[in-house]
Every structure is written in C-alpha cells, then in structure tokens.
Symmetry: C3
C-alpha cells in the first residue's frame, strides 16, 4: 500500500515521498525495510536515523527526518489503526458446527460462529455476531450481549450476565463458586454460593483467569475494564469501569475497586476494602487497607509508592546501619545488652 | 415462606410476628425488603435498626430488636441453612449425554449425570451420584468415590485416587506431571513423574488449580481440605485434613501441611518443609522454614506474625532513622565514611 | 528383575549379590522392601543402614554398605533411567478418534494419537508421532514438529510455531492475546496483538500456564527450557535456552531471559528488562532492573541474594534498633522531634 493511501485512511499529513510502498508495521527497534513505524515523543525522532523503516508516524512538531513521514497529533493511536489496516481480522463464516450441543431453549442472535463441541445450556440468550470457539461451555440461564467473543475452553457458569462486546480468552472461568466455608467443630461447612456475576460492556478477560460468583448478590466487573491472564477475582468483588488489572493479581472477596484503577502484576488485595478512583498499585504489592483515590501505592503492606521506594531503598543499607549503631553506642557508652549478640548482621 | 415455618425447619426460637412472609436471605448491609438476615455478634444487633430486612437470625442473648427474630446459638450456621432453603440445588436428571466418550472398561455408579463431550478412560471407576459437567476428562485407571462433582473442563490424569463427596471446579487439573529435571551438561533431562495423587473425602478444589502427581509415591490432600482457585500444589506435597488454602497459593514440591492449616492468598512455600497443625500464614508470605504448630506466621521470609507486623511497621520510618543516625554521629563525632554518600535516603 | 540385569542395562558396576530381585525404585526415606534406591553424596551412604531398600545406586567412591550396590559416576541419572525401566510409558495405539474434528487442509504426520473431541484448524501441520489428548484445540495455521505431546484441554492459538519434542500440560494456553491497551479519553482501545509465539525444541510447559502472543514479532521460548504450572509469559518475552521457570512466575511484556536462567516460584518481573545468562532469582522476588549474568538475585525489589539475605535478617531487629536509637539520642541530648511520637515501634 502506498504511503499516500495510508495518509488518507488515517487522516495524517504527508511529508515526503507518498509513493513509498509500505508492506507492514513495526516498532522502531525491529522495523524491517518497507515498514511503517512510529515515534510518540518528538525528542526521540532522531532514533529514526538508524532505523530501516520506510516511513514513520510522527507528532506534528517533530523535527524533519530523512524518511517520509505522516504527521498526526496521536501517532500511537494512528499506529494502532495502521496495525489493524495491515492485519485485518479474518472474516469468519457464520454457522453452528454440527458437533455443538445447544439446548432447545437457548436463543442465539444472527451472525454467530459456534465452534466444534461448544455446549450451550437451557434458556441461554446470546446477542448478535457472537464467536464461541471450540469447547466453550455456557451453563444454563446465562445472558450475553452482542459481539461476544469466547476463545477455546472458556467456561461460563449458570446465571452469569455479560454485556456487549465482551471478550473472554481461552480457559477463563466465569462464575465459579466463591471460597466460603463455615468452620464447625467437625470440619468446614460449605456456604452455598448462590449469587451471580455481572460483566458489563467492553470488558476483556485474560486466559485462565477466574471470576467467582458472589455468595449472595453479584460480583461485578465494570464497563471497559481489562483483566489480564491468571487473575483471581474473589466472590462479591465490585470492580469499577475502565480498570486495568495485570496478570496474576488476586482480589480477595468483597474487594471494591473504583473507576480507572490500575493494578500491577501479582498484586494481592485483602477483602472488604476499597481502592479509590484512579489509584494505581505497583506490581506484587499487598493491599491491606483502603487506598485513597488517585494515589500511587506500593509495597507489602502497601503504602504510598514514594514512601515505599524511599523505605525499600534503605533495606540494603540496614546491615551497615546496625554496625553504625554499635559504633555510636560504644562511643557514647550506652549499653545494648538486649541486642548485642549477633548484632553485626 | 412464613417466618414461623422457617423457625420450625431451622430449629430456632421465634420472637415476634411469625406470619411475616420471607422471600430471600441477605447480609445486613444489602438486605432488601422481605429478606431474612443475620447477626452473629449481639453487639451488632443495633445495625438492624437501619436494615430493610423483614427478620433476623440472632444469638439467644441479643437485645430485643424491632424486627421479628429467630434466636439460635449458631446464627451463621442457621443462615447457611436458610440460604440452602431458599436456593435449593436444582435436581438434575441422571443420564449420559450421547456425545460422551466412555471406555467400555469404565464403571460408573448409579444416578450419574455425565455431560456433553465428557471423556472417561479405560478401567476408570466412579461411585454413585457423580456429576461430570461438559468436557470433563478422566484419564485411565482413575478411581473416584461417591457423590463426585466435576465442573466443566476438569482434567484428572491417569491413576489418580479420589474419595467421596469431592468437588473439583472448572478447569482444575489433577495429576499433571511434577516439575522435576536433572541438570546434565547437554540440558535438562526429565525425571519421570510416575507417582500419583490421592484426594481424600470431602475435599473441594478451585477453578484452574493444579495438583501435580508425585515423582514416586503420592501427592496427598487430606479429608475436608478446601483449596481455592489458581493454587499450585507441587509434586509430593502432603496436605493434612481440614486445611483452608486461599487463591494463588504455591506449594513447592514435598511441602507438608498438618491438620487445619490456613494459608492466605498468594502464599508461597519452599519445598521439603513442614507447616504444623493449626498454623496460619498471612497472605503473600513466603515460607522458607518449618512453621511450628498453632503459630501465626507472616512476611517474606515468614516469621511470627506479631514480629513481622512490628518490623514492617518500622519500614516507613527507615529514611528518618538514617537521618537520625547521621545527626547522632555528628553530635558524637563518630565518622561514618563507608555509609556517608547518599545516606539521606 | 535381577539386580545383575539392571547393572547390565544401566552400565553400572555390581557390588554384592546380583541375584537380588528388584521390584521397584524409591528414594531412601520411603524405600520399601525389594526396591532399588540411590545416594548421590557418598557421605550420606550411611543412611542406607536404616533403609529397607534391597539395593542402592552409589557413586564409585562411596564406602562399602551392607546392601548390594551398583556403582556409577552418575547415580542420580542412573536412578532416573531405572525409574523409566520400571515404569515404561504405555504404548498407545496410533489413530484418530472419530469425534475429533480435523480440518481437511490440516496435515498430521505418521503415528499420531488424536484423542476424543480434539479440534485441529485449517492448514495446521503436525509432525510424526504426535499425541494430542482429549479436547486439545489447535487453531488455524499452527506448525508443530515431531513427537509433540499435548495433554487434555491444551489450546494453541492461530499461527503459533512449535519445534520438536515439545510437551504441553493440561490446560496450557499458547498464543493468547497480549495485554496491550491504549488509554484514550473515552476508555482503553485494544492494541491488536498480531504477532506470534515461537516455541523451540525440547520445551515443556506446565498445566494452566499461559504464553501470550506478541503485539508484533514473536514471543520466543528457547530450546530445552522448562516452565512449570500457572506461569504467565507476557507478550514479546524472549526466553533463552535451557531455562527453568518455576510455578506461578509472571513475566511482564518484553522481558528477556538469557540461557540457563532459573526463576523460583512466584517470581515477578517488570517488562523491558534482561536477566543475564545463568542468573538465578529466588522465589517470590520482584525483578525491577536488569540482572547481570551468573548472579543470584532475591528480594523485592530484587538485589544480590547475599545482600538481600543480610538485609532481611535485619528486619526482625528493627523495633529494637528504634529503641536503641532513642536511648542513644537521649544520652547524647540530640532531639528527635519529627520521629518522637509512636517511636517505640
């Protein structure tokens, strides 16, 4: 595709030779000949000098470069559009594979692609243009909106509610029983988990992630929220809209996240607490208390990130601090009987 | 259902109007009109004043409330029984779905529900009243007791032994190979994992959890133990009875847990160590050494929880401690050449 | 099998009675009568005195023991060979189960075992002697080498490349979408994940592990690398050859591991960093920066393991250190207004 054609489709301003032939898109560092690349920060435009790319998407105020360029106020968004242009999703023929087992009482909208060995239970309703890949299992009484995508092996348990344009990646389990047991003298008695799960519009959930159903009421995942792989969402969690939850995060029961919360990988949260709107928690942190809105938290237990960084920077210097303390105590003549033995760290 | 009828079924003492019609059960904070709620701690009975619930389960010594109430020495257990009363598990018609693939040499007890596309291997034995949902795979030579429940997509590898009343949630994998490799000059040689897995009675295992088979001998999960989602049980672990293991816990090979051990979410344990009876380990802790019976541990590496809480409370004050040290050193005239630069934290 | 026969097969030197009948293999501590056990360290040969084993594999320089023994310079490797001798993998009849759904354009090599309900997409190529257990799903355009093993429920997404002798354990997902979203004023826009995954020869990947496809280019897992259960490999990671990655490790996008890297369980790594050849990172550590080759790292954030051990050994003594500081300050007459309240830890 000619660069001038791409400029037209992406609504960019063309600088330089529009007849250059573009064959793919690539980041600067890996760009092969013939590729369109991009630079978001105009100060990094000079990196293009050593790139093999054929052209670049640049912000309007970037300096002139030897490559032909497309100028746009949103180079990254234009790059994403270019990726879609060069890698269109293959159209899939609507239809139901003959090995699928679909209850007579289920209703599936027009244009659905139902793969081999899919199982859909009684009274399930699924909107238009759904794609259910091989081996997806939807239990009874589930309701799902339009443009649903479920990759191979997804399991949606009974009664779950799912909005429009939701994507579930392979192996995700939605609506498994919450982990609730009543300790009795003769062992643990299961607390029935009879609540549900509500997944709002435009949510994406990663591979092998599990979202437990509530004991009573519902576990809720707000619209636009994106969840990575191998995440655990405990029973009764209420996750707000437009959150980003990285891989292997674990949210204990009844955790509440506000809007636009960002959790780094492997973050753990105790239950029955609230992370405020726009708060961010660094990877591997352990959240034991409420996090106020628009704060950055980190550490175990998590505190303000700035505070945590300062404190953890002290850690490697602790052995020396103990030695310094001993020296000072000797100079002052203050004894330290309780701490003396083995004090050199 | 009338409150007086519920009182009769749950063996509670009725205080107030027994003709109140109850339509559901709910926790105090979410109780809709018409619901039965509960309070375990009599000092919290006053919270009922602002609840919309129609009636409450209370301990015998709770003060009088404006709502009708049911008195019982175990309000929480009675509430669980009430949940079951209002949300009975739907009866499922026994039968084998025609798409299931069951080896001729397999034996399955009476009353089984075998879902679509289930696969059961040679010489498998399963007791009465089993429920195997869609896509469950049971490899050859597995033996399973009565009242077994496996949700969609569960995989049970060859030779695994499972007791009575065991529940496996969707995507759980039982009997995958342990992670054992012998480092040789030309790479890692796999150590064959030819041991098994024994799951005793009344065990429940969460969604997408994995339990590896032993190299030799068996990985054992004791009766009554409950394991949450996305947990990893390494090869040769021996887990005692009535343990509670929260989500995303990882137990390295040959970890031994005693009876009634409780592990918080994301706890990791090194292998070849023992956590004693009744010990509890706080979420995200890293267990590197034996934990004595009936102790609470926390931290990384895990120590007594009390000790860890005190130590971690010091963390945020470390930068100030370094400043204080510098001040004292100056006052005393003790040099600190080694630690001087960048010491302000 | 007679011990002398085992000596012949394993190329070991026989000491003592070769007519002893061996019925199984076992580690020293669990060895039942009739078993062959092994000791790697000659100083531990005395433990055999209390073992019930019938014979032992020993290094050549081990002292004489009362049991008959087989001497070899590699007792552990000989033991592994003995395990294989006593527990041969059962031969499986090649063939395609009639419930498998295989695209007309797929090509599968000789000797394949294709289990029930397997699904293989368009233009897939699989080499000789593949074993695909029940419910394995291979999307379109995947290429796989010889001697491939996939356990039940494995999902391989479109376009993935897999080398020879690769094993994927139950529930593993290869090629799921990377987690990439562009924050825009009206929510997160998905960055299409159009790259691939390349898995080289002799790789083994654990149960329910997920390996994401790259945004562009490829996620690579080097030859001979072994990955345990429930691991997350983010998009664009490049893992070198012969690495060992323990359970529940999480690698954020574009992490690079060199050759022979070892990561302990639950390690987390930030993205866009490099762990050098032969480096080892202790369980639960959080890697935030490059790790130089052949270094041992530990902690959160990870530093040199030696340094971390020294620093974390100081942690439990911090409350006492604060008390000591207070005492010294009083002795010197230095005030500490800012830190005074609550300073006793």
């Amino acid at each position: 595709m000619k660069l001038s054609e791409i400029a037209r489709i992406l609504h960019c301003e063309l600088h330089g030779d529009g007849d250059v032939e573009i064959t793919d898109v690539a980041p600067v560092e890996d760009a092969p000949p013939g590729s369109l690349t991009f630079v978001v920060d105009r100060r990094r435009a000079r990196e293009l000098a050593t790139s093999r790319a054929a052209a670049a998407l640049l912000p309007p105020d970037a300096p002139d470069v030897t490559l032909p360029s497309l100028r746009t106020s949103e180079p990254y968004a234009a790059f994403v559009a270019a990726v879609e242009l060069f890698h269109p999703s293959p159209a899939r023929e609507p239809g139901v594979h003959p090995t699928a087992v679909i209850a007579a009482t289920a209703r599936i909208g027009d244009g659905a692609v139902i793969g081999p060995h899919v199982v859909i239970g009684d009274r399930v309703e699924i909107g238009c243009r759904a794609v259910l890949d091989a081996h997806v299992v939807v239990y009874r009484d589930v309701r799902i909106g339009e443009a649903f995508t479920a990759h191979a092996g997804v399991v949606v348990r009974e009664g779950v509610r799912i909005g429009h344009r939701v994507t579930l990646h392979a192996g995700a389990v939605i609506g498994s029983d919450g982990f609730g047991f009543l300790p009795l003298p003769d062992g643990h008695r299961k607390i029935p988990q009879v609540g549900g799960v509500v997944i709002e519009d435009d949510v994406e959930i990663g591979a092998n992630t599990t979202v437990d159903r509530a004991t009573l009421g519902a576990t809720v995942i707000g619209h636009g929220t994106k969840i990575d792989n191998l995440v655990m969402v405990g029973h009764g969690c209420r996750i707000g809209p437009d959150c980003l939850i990285a891989a292997q995060v674990g949210l204990a029961g009844s955790t509440t996240l506000g809007a636009r919360v960002m959790l780094g990988g492997q973050v753990g949260s105790a239950g029955h607490l609230t992370v405020g709107d726009g708060a961010r928690v660094a990877a591997q942190s352990g959240v034991h208390r409420d996090v106020p809105p628009r704060h950055d938290y980190a550490g175990y237990p998590a505190v303000q990130a700035r505070e945590w960084r300062r404190a953890s920077a002290c850690m490697p210097r602790l052995p020396a601090l103990f030695r310094r303390m001993r020296r000072v105590e000797r100079a002052v003549g203050v004894g330290s009987a309780e701490d003396a033995p083995g004090d050199e760290g």
